[in-house]
Amino acid sequence: MIGDALLSRLVRILVHPATVLAGLALTIALGQILGQSFWVTLATRAAILALAALSLGFVLGQGGLVGFGHAAPFGLGAYAVLIAGELGVREILVLLPAAFAAAALFAAATGALALRTRGVYFIMITLAFAQMAYFVFAGVSALGGDDGMSIAGKATFLGAKFLRWDVNTAWLALGLLTATFLFLSRVQHARFGRVLAAARDAEERVAALGWSVYRVRLVAWILAAGLAGLAGALMAEQTGFVSPALMNWHRSGELIVMVVLGGARKLSGAIVGAVVVVLVEEFLGGVTEYWKLGLGVLILAVVLTRAVDLSALLRRTAR
C-alpha cells in the first residue's frame, strides 16, 4: 500500500508540465539516437496537439469560454501553409506568422458575433462557424476539396532546408509549445489575464469596474485562435498533407477533452491532457479499430465520477 500523501505527491510530479515537456524532449532525443523514427513522430504529434489544446485551455479555463470550434483555427493554420506553398512561399519565418494571422482573422470575425451570446448559444455558434470553415475548404476543388492535397514541400529556415529532417520539426514543435506555455503563464498573471479570469467568475463586477468584458474576451479568443493556427501549420509540416479532416468537429471535441482531462483551471492541464489522449489513442488504436469507444468510456468515467480531471481520477482509483 502506498500512503495517500506519497501517492498524491507522485501524481503531482507526474502531471507537472516540466515533467511532461522533459518527457517529450527525452522521447525525441532517444528516438533520434536509437533510430526510432516512430517515437519522434509520436512526440511531435503530441507536442502539436498539446499546443492546440493549450491555446483552447487558455480561453476555456481562464476565460470560461466553452468554444466548440477550435478545430477551425487549427485547420486554417494548416491551410495557410498549403496556400502559401502553392504561391511559392516556403520560408518558415513567413509561414508561421501567416498561419497565426489566418486563424486570428477567422476568430476575429466569428468571435465578434459568437461572444455576443452566452452558454448553450456560444457552444452551438462556435461549432457552427467551425463547420462552415470545414465545408468551405471541402468545396474548394483547387485545394483538393474533400480529399485535401500535399503541401508543396518542406519549409526552409532562412533558406536552409532545416525542416527536411523530422527530428527538427519535432524540436520546433516542442520549442513552440514550451515558449507558448511560458508566454501564456506570463499573460495569465498579467493584468489582462487576471481581468479575463475575473470576468469568468463575476462578469458584472468586472464590467462595473469599467472593463469591457466583451473586448477582453475577444482579444483572448483571437490570441488563442492564432496559437492554434501555429499548431495547425506545424501539423501540415509534419504530415506534409492538408485536408478538411483536420477541421472535423470531432477534433474540436477532442481538444476540449484534452483540456478537461488535464484539468481546465490550470494552464498546464491542457499539455498533460493532450499527451495522455494521444497516448491513449495510440495504444487503443494499436489494439482495436474501435478505439474511439475506449476514449468515450474514459471521458464518461471522468465526467460521471466527478473526478474533475485525470489526476483526481488517478488518485481516486489508486486508493
Partner: protein, 312 residues
C-alpha cells in the same frame, strides 16, 4: 434556370427543412426545458434510421417496420435518459458537452461494430418508391412528398400538444419556472423524462424518413446535428415555432444555394471561377444567415417565447 428546376429545388428544400425540423424540435425542447446540451441527439437520428431499416426488412412490412422503429427510438430515449442523462441535467454545460460527446463516440463505434461500417439498404415499398407528375414535365418522388406531409403533420401535432393540452402547459411552465412548477406538486424530473424520450422519438422518426433517400450509416447523425444547431440558433432556444420557421429557412437556403450559386455567380464571374467559387459559397450560405440573425437578434428570431433565461 427553368421553372421546373426551381420548383423541384424548392420541394427538395422543403423536404430537407422538415427533416431538420423533426430533429431540431426535440433538441430545442430538451434545451429549453432542461437547459441541457445534448450533442448525442444526432445519434438518436442515426439509431432511428437503423432500427426502422432493420424492422422493415425483418417484418417485411413498411408500416409495421416504421412503428417498430419509432417504438425502438422511444425506448432508447427512455433508456438514455434513465441511465445517463438525468445525472447530467444539473451539471454545467461543459460537463454535458463532454459526456454527450463521449456518448457519440461510444454509440457510433458500437453501431459500426454491430451493423458494419458500410451503408445498409433501406428499401421502400413499391407504392412509395415511384414518382408522380405534379404538373406536365414535373415528376417528383412520392417518398419526398410523404416526408414533407409527415413533417408538417408533426409540426401541427406538436403545436396542438404544446398549446392545447395539459402536458404542453406543464412543459411550457417547466421551461420557464421549473422551481415553481415543482413546488406546485408536479414531478419535474418525470416531465423531463418524457420530453427527452419524445424528442428522441422525433429524431428517430426523422432518421426513418431520411433513411431511404440518404445512406444509413453510423456517422449519418453528425451533419444533421450541426444543421439542427444552426436551426436552433436562428429560431431561438426552446421555441418550437422558431424551430419550424428556421428549419424551412435553412432547408431552402441550403438547397437553393447549392443548386443555383454557380449559375448566379456566372453572371459576375467567368465560367471557371464561378464553378470554383460556387460550391464553397453555397456551403457558407446558411451560416451567413445565422450570422445575420445573430447581428439583429442575438437570442434568435422567436426567443421572446421564453420568458426568462434560466441561470444555473
Amino acid at each position: 434556370m427553368s421553372f421546373t428546376l426551381l420548383a423541384v429545388q424548392i420541394l427538395n428544400g422543403l423536404q430537407l427543412g422538415v427533416v431538420l425540423f423533426l430533429v431540431a424540435a426535440g433538441l430545442t425542447l430538451v434545451f429549453g426545458v432542461m437547459d441541457f446540451v445534448n450533442l448525442a441527439h444526432g445519434v438518436q437520428y442515426m439509431l432511428g434510421a437503423y432500427l426502422t431499416a432493420i424492422a422493415v426488412s425483418k417484418t417485411g412490412s413498411f408500416a409495421l417496420g416504421l412503428v417498430g422503429g419509432l417504438a425502438g427510438s422511444l425506448a432508447l430515449g427512455f433508456a438514455f435518459e434513465l441511465v445517463l442523462f438525468r445525472h447530467l441535467v444539473r451539471r454545467d454545460h461543459l460537463e454535458q458537452v463532454l459526456a454527450t460527446f463521449a456518448v457519440i463516440l461510444i454509440v457510433t463505434d458500437l453501431a459500426r461494430m454491430i451493423f458494419g461500417p458500410a451503408p445498409i439498404a433501406f428499401p421502400l415499398p413499391a407504392m412509395l418508391s415511384g414518382s408522380i407528375a405534379l404538373m406536365p414535365g414535373l415528376a417528383y418522388p412520392v417518398w419526398r412528398l410523404v416526408i414533407i406531409a409527415a413533417g408538417l403533420a408533426t409540426a401541427f401535432l406538436l403545436w396542438f400538444l404544446i398549446t392545447r393540452t395539459r402536458t404542453g402547459m406543464l412543459l411550457r411552465a417547466g421551461s420557464t419556472h421549473p422551481d415553481m412548477v415543482s413546488a406546485l406538486g408536479v414531478d419535474i424530473d418525470r416531465v423531463f423524462l418524457f420530453v427527452f424520450a419524445f424528442g428522441a422519438m422525433l429524431a428517430g422518426f426523422a432518421g426513418a424518413m431520411a433513411g431511404p433517400i440518404l445512406s444509413v450509416e453510423p456517422s449519418m447523425g453528425d451533419n444533421v446535428l450541426i444543421l439542427a444547431f444552426v436551426v436552433i440558433v436562428i429560431g431561438g432556444i426552446g421555441a418550437v415555432r422558431g424551430a419550424l420557421v428556421a428549419s424551412l429557412i435553412v432547408g431552402l437556403v441550403d438547397t437553393l444555394g447549392r443548386a443555383f450559386s454557380t449559375d448566379l455567380l456566372r453572371l459576375v464571374l467567368d465560367r471557371s471561377s464561378a464553378a470554383q467559387a460556387g460550391p464553397a459559397i453555397a456551403s457558407m450560405a446558411i451560416y451567413l444567415v445565422m450570422a445575420a440573425v445573430l447581428i439583429v437578434r442575438p437570442t434568435g428570431l422567436f426567443s421572446g417565447e421564453r420568458v426568462t433565461a434560466r441561470s444555473k
